[in-house]
């Protein structure tokens, strides 16, 4: 098994996707964010000059352009870059792309991918730190994907591009340097398949995106205290794999949900509701959520750190449910 960085796996996926399918076009190009590795993307841009487009700063315009192009035979991947910018393209994503297939009575397919970097990135302040996936989950018609490892980003990106539905690819800049095993000639990862990232028996920690990595570190620390945490990553919100989650919940009876969207009506709130509805009797203690506080994101490092799902808040929540 070879170990590569997350950004390398993501770039490998983009490269293989572009080579395999001439109908894939990249609209806008910060797929590696402003990370030190962003030059890697330039190689792709040089290789496919007609299929890697640099649009004006017009999210509404180019999200619509990509949606229309998807209706007419292309498979565009749109880079919205910072998650907060999806609000500029919102009408096209939430109101046009998401509704087209249903509204047409199942006739018009929209195989577009909207890629973005969500969450607390370090200094993003209020307008570069949004995690719009909860709002998008409340908007039927969109598939939502959140990779958390090198293997997952590669396999899920391939499935996202192959999907005939509009798909939101929710990435996190803090993941770019994470290393992990990615087999050569790996296959795409189907949507709707949660993944147990670490086996455990005392508590189920459900985490998404970068929070999966944080929870794995927490689980490692708690292991020294003989607390056995199982870390489960849903990987996709739409479709959602309830069965894998409930298998773990039934085993441990104790649940903490860690996610970076704001607490109210957030991703953790929806997962909590589903667990309570389908398995209240399996719970040995009230479940806990660790989300971002319901306030705008502040700039200063201690302020930003305070509101997020910090490691100490996660540990505290785990201790509470184990009481």
């Amino acid at each position: 098994m070879r170990e590569i960085a997350y950004y390398e796996a993501k770039f490998e996926a983009l490269n293989e996707i572009m080579a395999a399918d001439p109908t894939v076009h990249l609209i806008n190009g910060t797929f590696l964010s402003l990370s030190p590795h962003r030059h890697v993307y330039q190689e792709l841009a040089n290789k496919y000059r007609d299929r890697v487009m640099s649009p004006p700063i017009s999210e509404l315009g180019f999200c619509g352009l990509a949606t229309g192009a998807a209706m007419a035979g292309l498979r565009p991947i749109v880079d919205i870059s910072t998650g907060s910018f999806i609000f500029e393209g919102w009408p096209q994503v939430a109101n046009e792309a998401a509704n087209a297939f249903s509204m047409s009575g199942g006739q018009t397919r929209v195989p577009v991918v909207f890629h973005l970097f969500h969450g607390l990135r370090g200094g993003g302040a209020a307008q570069h730190s949004a995690s719009p996936q909860a709002m998008l989950w409340n908007n039927p018609g969109l598939e939502i994907v959140l990779p958390s490892s090198p293997r997952d980003v590669k396999g899920l990106l391939k499935t996202a591009v192959a999907s005939d539905n509009p798909t939101i690819f929710v990435d996190h800049v803090q993941l770019l340097d994470v290393k992990g095993d990615v087999p050569e000639n790996d296959s795409p990862i189907p949507f709707g398949l949660a993944h147990v990232k670490r086996k455990g028996s005392d508590v189920t920690v459900i985490a998404t995106s970068y929070m999966v990595q944080r929870c794995l570190q927490v689980a490692e620390r708690l292991a020294s205290e003989r607390i056995s945490a199982e870390v489960v990553d849903p990987r996709t919100l739409v479709p959602f794999d309830m069965a894998t989650l409930m298998t773990s919940v039934e085993k441990t009876g104790r649940v903490v949900i860690v996610d970076e969207t704001h607490q109210s009506c957030g991703v953790a709130a929806e997962i909590a509701a589903r667990i309570v509805e389908s398995g209240f009797d399996k719970l040995k203690a009230p479940l806990r959520r660790v989300s971002t506080l319901d306030v705008p994101v502040s700039y200063s490092p201690p302020l930003e750190d305070y509101i997020g799902p910090r490691e100490d808040r996660i540990i505290e929540a785990i201790r509470v449910v184990l009481r």
Binding site: F62, G64, G68, A69, M71, A72, E96, F101
Partner: protein, 339 residues
Amino acid sequence: MLPKLPRETLLDLCRRMFVIRHFEESLVPLHDKGVFGGHYHLYIGQEATGVPALSCLGGDDYLFTTHRNHGHLLARGADPKKLCAEILGRVDGYNKGKGGSFHTVVPSLGFLHTSAVVAGIIPLATGTAYAAKALKNGRITVCLFGDGALEEGAAPEALNLASLWKLPVLFLCENNGKYGAGRATSAAQSSTMAAFPLTDLPKAYKVPAQQIDGLDSGTVHATISQAVEKIRRGEGPQFVEAQTVRWPGSETNWPSVAQRTDSSVAWDVSGVPEKVREWYRSCDPLLIFIRELVDAKQATKEEIADIERKVKAEIADAVEFAVASPYPKPEEAAKEYFA
């Protein structure tokens, strides 16, 4: 002025205009009786723009339209039965009742998606144009919207993209506000749009633009066929503003028909209620068109009356079909929202 087309083609355009007029007029009593709900918009008064303009397109071209879409669909040859059933929310509608008046989609005629957000379609139209250019399939896209759509930010963003990337798209703005309240007219800036004339907007993005009389079928046909030719040659986007005079039945919140159209009105408006008489006398594009047909000896009054009679029967059948069509099963609402 009539389009310079063979007589058979002119009579076909005439028939399509009648189809639109009688279809739209038939919807009003259905809505008034509660046979369908929700808001709806009619294309009456713009027939001489849509029918000749869309006759300039190829069978594979893409079209985007918005809330006055019935006319565009019918001009393109949509089946009035399936269109009416869709508007009534019935299972035999084009979208099985999932779309309704606002969102009727007929991919085989080039309509992939119809948005009820007035400028929502403008970026989408640049997208199908982008795809056609990338796939080199020779298709062009026509984007049909009203003057109000230019007030949304999506419009300038899309005009800029279309121009930068030389996309094969025709922006056809149907401004039915000539003399209408609050809209950009041929004489002044409106209360909702500072740009005047409207063609200043596309021109700022270097999209060639012209204003034409949308009541004049000959001008529409000549202008659109030239614009389409330029787009097919790879010259990039074109913009045309076709001006029409708003049908009085659209002045109110809900459409109302003060006068059912009959071709005889073209030559005698004395029976038309006075408050709408002037529109039928001088601004009704369908009546102008049939007067021109007779004056140019392309058809007799009797031939036109005969076309109209057949169309009326066809529309009556369509309404009967749609009313008899069942509603979809309620549980269909929770199905087929992902491919």
